[in-house]
């Protein structure tokens, strides 16, 4: 009787597992099945090409900005002690859970023509490529900051202390000791940030609009193409699936390899 119960339990687990795998695989597989041989020809479709270009450029700029701005922020959050630190940390992480549509509206209210800041800006920001990067940065940078902050948190400060007693300046210690030790988190955080920027849709649509070559990134192009040209929507989807999969595999392999000797 007891063994029968275990068997049923196993079956339940197995069925759930199988169901879930099918549930994830089927939609993705369907995109590949439907796109067929048209995929190659779509790669020369100007709309598809400009969406790919714009997506790569904007998400890469977003990733660079995250490094420049996010690294000091993560460092301060991990190492410094100041008032309201937890509140500020929560605020910084807010865009991770915030619905992108809210981010879009918020950016409009701040940087739009009639926005708190935007009305004083010398140029219009909304509907420009800059707006795309701003939308992506808003939602994606926290992924990098969070990853780097935990790297700084978990780093053994004794190693840095040794470097300091050997005469290295604080800056020198940071560059040649602290930063190299954070490489796994750096790569992981950066890739997540980049991937999130690449997939950004809601905030971009609201704040940057939808214009080919200027603000129409791949997710927006998919959305638009659904109305006119299903094949290019499918082709862009295939590219994003492949990119996302590659990113994930890369993070997993890289994480494992680095984890082995750190």
């Amino acid at each position: 009787m007891a063994s029968l119960r275990i068997e049923i339990w196993k079956i339940v687990i197995f069925a759930s597992f199988l169901f879930y795998i099918c549930y994830i695989t089927l939609p993705i597989l369907s995109v590949f099945v439907r796109v067929g041989s048209d995929f190659i020809t779509q790669l020369s479709n100007p709309v598809v090409v400009s969406a790919i270009k714009l997506s790569i450029i904007t998400s890469s700029v977003t990733a660079l900005v995250a490094i420049v701005v996010g690294t000091p922020v993560a460092y301060a959050l991990a190492r410094w002690r100041f008032r309201y630190k937890h509140a500020l940390e929560t605020l910084i992480e807010l865009p991770i859970v915030l619905p992108p549509a809210v981010a879009g509206v918020a950016l409009l209210m701040a940087f739009g023509r009639n926005g708190l800041v935007g009305s004083y800006a010398p140029m219009d920001i909304a509907f420009t490529t800059l707006a795309v990067i701003m939308a992506q940065s808003f939602v994606a940078t926290p992924f990098y900051v969070r990853s780097m902050k935990s790297a700084f948190d978990n780093l053994d400060t004794k190693i840095e202390g040794v470097a300091r007693t050997l005469g290295a300046s604080e800056f020198r210690t940071f560059v040649s000791i602290t930063l190299p030790l954070t490489v796994p988190s750096f790569v992981g955080g950066l890739v997540m940030c980049w991937a999130r920027a690449l997939g950004e849709f809601g905030a971009t649509l609201m704040f940057a609009g939808n214009f080919i070559g200027r603000t129409q990134t791949m997710p927006l192009a998919i959305y638009s193409a659904l109305q006119t040209d299903l094949q290019s929507a499918l082709s862009l989807s295939v590219i994003l699936i492949i990119l996302s999969f590659t990113i994930l595999v890369f993070v997993k392999i890289f994480g494992r390899r680095v984890g082995a000797f750190v």
């Binding site: 739009g112 609009g209 638009s224």
Partner: protein, 243 residues
């Protein structure tokens, strides 16, 4: 293994089918062009009062709605801003009968703090113009009007205006929203959308008349279609041209 795959798939399909049946049987689901939002909300309210049957409304670009219906979205009624979407569904055997029930025309909605005073100004530099994407009915009409206007203002008018376009929105309501927000200077919309801001008329000979068609998709939908057809005065009240 194979048997398990088959069983799991069956269970999954049954679960999905059960969820699919979850829509309220007492409700009539109406898919309607975004520009029909205000009159159809009113018509639905009246219909609910008169018959006691609830109406569920889904507003989007007619093209998006048509694609949703093609791909199996449940709708009892489809009201489109152009006959083409209905025609596509008719060719697929999803729609059998349809009726023109209203007409509309295009205007150029302008934001309150812009200095546009004529259609010709749309070709001026540094303007921010928003249009609906060419796949949607309003987007297609916009292209037609712009090409017509070439005859009035010269060959490069179309190109100059298109250079000022900063965004191609999914439907007419999102295009008009950019005017309401003050983010864009001008947008091509239906006359019936431009109720909160100023607008510029497009001369009759260059304008396009949009024909709205309504079609029942299920037998249950007929009741609501008949209701719309016999209450066209509601649409007139919102500025639609009666057919």
């Amino acid at each position: 293994m194979l048997r398990w795959l088959a069983i799991t798939t069956m269970v999954a399909i049954m679960a999905v089918m059960m969820l699919g049946c979850l829509h309220d049987n007492n409700e009539i689901t109406v898919f309607a062009a975004a520009s029909l939002k205000e009159p159809f909300e009113k018509l639905a309210d009246n219909f609910e009062e008169d018959t006691g049957t609830q109406v569920g409304l889904n507003f989007e670009s007619s093209t998006t709605l048509r694609i949703q219906i093609e791909n199996g979205a449940y709708a009892d009624v489809f009201a489109s801003a152009d006959p083409l979407q209905i025609e596509i569904l008719r060719n697929k055997g999803i729609v059998n009968e349809s009726y023109v029930f209203a007409k509309n025309e295009l205007v150029v909605a302008i934001s309150n703090n812009t200095n546009i005073s004529s259609l010709e100004d749309l070709a001026n530099q540094k303007l921010r113009i928003v249009i609906a994407q060419p796949g949607s009915p309003i987007g297609k009409y916009t292209q037609e009007v712009l090409l017509n206007l070439n005859n009035m203002y010269g060959e490069d008018f179309y190109d100059k205006v298109m250079k000022n376009v900063v965004s191609e929105e999914d439907n007419v309501k999102s295009a008009y929203a950019k005017i309401l927000l003050g983010e864009a200077d001008a947008a091509f919309v239906y006359r019936t959308d431009s109720v909160h801001t100023k607008f510029i008329e497009i001369p009759k000979e260059y304008n396009v008349i949009a024909e709205y068609e309504i079609a029942p998709i299920t037998p249950r939908g007929r009741e609501f279609v008949r209701y719309v057809l016999s209450n066209k005065d509601v649409l007139r009240g919102y500025g639609f041209i009666e057919d």
